[in-house]
């Protein structure tokens, strides 16, 4: 054959070859992202290992079948996935992926579509979490209402909680006030909510003994609720006349300004008992050390793990973690609330069982059980 013609034919085929090949191998697929709010589409394609000459991929999108393809993003060679986040739920989209080679040649994949992003009504990836919530809540609710049947529950002694009575008694004997610090957490911290429940019990006892209770607050919402709690406690104790709303007041949300002010109160008001219950950060020790030096009886309770050592070192008694949440039930002696403590114990047994089963399965080489807890 004439060499010239052969050369022309070869030159003609070189740029076409990759086009044909990539069009075949790119194998573009588009799917609606599962478990989302309908705000994205996932594009996937096969990385072409035969062509290490790929420079990059370019993704095009259109909202109609023909034409109007606009570039929406790029992907590096070796990457086989692109998430299109700029889509509207319920609309159809068409895609093309363009492979760009080092020598400047470009090749388009066939167009795919329409891919319609949809919102899901349930995030299936959260199924194990939902199961856990249902099981734990079911157990707790069962034991709460089971307790109603009148079956007696034994609850072990918790020294920190018995100390609360002792501290209030001491303040009453000395004719001095009680200081209640509910931490620096806001209403969204569960420790703060637990603290408010404890406050309700303590303020009732204080109201019965007519011992003044001072509550400096660091969160305005918490302060408002605590005022109501204390007012209710006084009514329950049959002493609405002794309720002093000015004893519950806001100082500031600023952590250390709050700590400075409470330190000042500890030194100047000289309360006979101080309770620190709730969520705390670094100010914990600034408060508890000053209280310790002033010789006050101090009972702390928190689930802030980093602050527990400081409370343990500075306070007479410390409620750790779950004990904080158990306190209100324990102090109230209400069977419904005590029932929940039994439920929590069963919860812990389930957790221990899960750990043991998980360890055995993991040792046997089964990963699926561990993956449930992701």
């Amino acid at each position: 054959m004439n060499r010239k013609i052969l050369a022309i034919i070869i030159l003609f085929f070189i740029p076409i070859l990759p086009i044909i090949s990539t069009a075949e191998t790119a194998n573009l697929r588009g799917i609606d992202t599962p478990n989302d709010n309908g705000g994205s589409i996932i594009l996937e394609w096969e990385v072409d290992t035969e062509f290490p000459r790929i420079k990059s991929y370019r993704i095009f999108r259109s909202e109609v079948t023909i034409g109007d393809m606009k570039p929406i993003g790029n992907a590096e060679p070796g990457v086989n996935r692109y998430i299109d986040n700029k889509v509207t739920r319920g609309k159809g989209y068409y895609y093309i992926i363009q492979t760009i080679y080092n020598d400047g040649v470009v090749a388009n994949s066939p167009m795919i579509g329409p891919v319609v992003p949809k919102a899901q009504w349930f995030d299936k990836s959260l199924l194990p979490t939902a199961g856990g919530v249902l099981i734990i809540s079911g157990i707790l609710i069962f034991f709460i209402y089971h307790a109603k049947s009148g079956k007696k529950l034994t609850i072990r002694r918790i020294p920190g909680l018995e100390a609360i009575d002792e501290a209030i008694g001491r303040a009453t004997e000395m004719g001095k006030s009680i200081l209640y610090v509910s931490g620096i957490g806001g209403i969204r911290s569960m420790a703060t909510i637990a603290s408010m429940n404890i406050l309700s019990r303590i303020s009732r006892m204080a109201a019965e003994y007519e011992t003044p209770l001072l509550v400096p607050c660091s969160d305005p919402v918490v302060m408002n609720i605590e005022r109501e709690i204390i007012r209710n406690a006084h009514m329950d104790a049959g002493r609405p006349d002794t309720y002093r709303q000015e004893n519950v007041f806001f100082i500031t949300e600023e952590q250390f300004a709050y700590a400075a002010a409470v330190d000042g109160m500890i030194i100047r008001e000289k309360p006979a008992a101080i309770f620190y219950m709730g969520a705390f950060m670094a100010e914990s020790l600034i408060l508890a050390e000053v209280g310790n030096v002033s010789g006050t009886i101090q009972v702390a309770g928190t689930d802030s793990i980093t602050q527990l050592p400081f409370f343990i070192a500075s306070c007479d008694y410390t409620l750790m973690g779950e004990e904080l949440y158990a306190a209100s039930a324990y102090l109230s002696k209400d069977p419904l609330l005590l029932g929940s403590l039994k439920g929590q114990d069963i919860g812990k047994l389930i957790v221990i069982a899960c750990i043991i089963i998980g360890v055995i399965l993991q040792l046997l080489g089964y990963q699926w059980f561990t993956n449930l807890f992701r």
Partner: protein
Amino acid sequence: MFNAIGIWVAIGLTICVYSFLYKDNPLFKFAEHLFVGISAGYLLAIAYHTNFLPYIYYPLKSALTEGKYREFSVLIPSLMGLMLFSRFVPRYNWMVRWPFAFLMGYSAGVKIPVIMQADIYRQIQGTIQPFGDKSSLWAITNAVMIMLGVICTLIYFFFSRERKGLSGGLSEAGIIFLMIGFGASFGYTVMARISLLIGRVDFLLQNIPFINSIVSNGR
């Protein structure tokens, strides 16, 4: 000038706060009250710009002037906010409970799944995952120790059983783990706090001219 005054103010206040270590005194009282006043004022200003204006004032303004009637929805929470003031009117003070019920219900519900995932599931997973790595004896021993530690600590928190027999022994072991854990976290923070103190002392040394001249002459 403005800056020079600022540095002197900062030096003075730093000394006022440290004077508390000796005992409560007028200098500390001054610093404490100033701190409270200023931080409350700061809070008010920030709340005005980041909460009041964008979430109450502007929506209402656009509802009234631009006819965006949907924005009137801010009236519902505003009304709930106003209900907080009903406490001051004895006849209507029951109204204060509505916003409280809303806030408490909302906080209680939003936390349950988050806690389930982060504080229970992740911790279980973290405890069993290391058993997959059977390459070294040390790794497995450590994993066993952590697992026993977690179980004993959990048993320590049992409420419906007296601490007797096996559960008593395990909960004793739980206390040992707890105390070592607390000690470790105590020790871990010591250096960070000392470096804060060094930072403050350094600030004083750098900025008090008299001390600064001695320090720099000595260098």
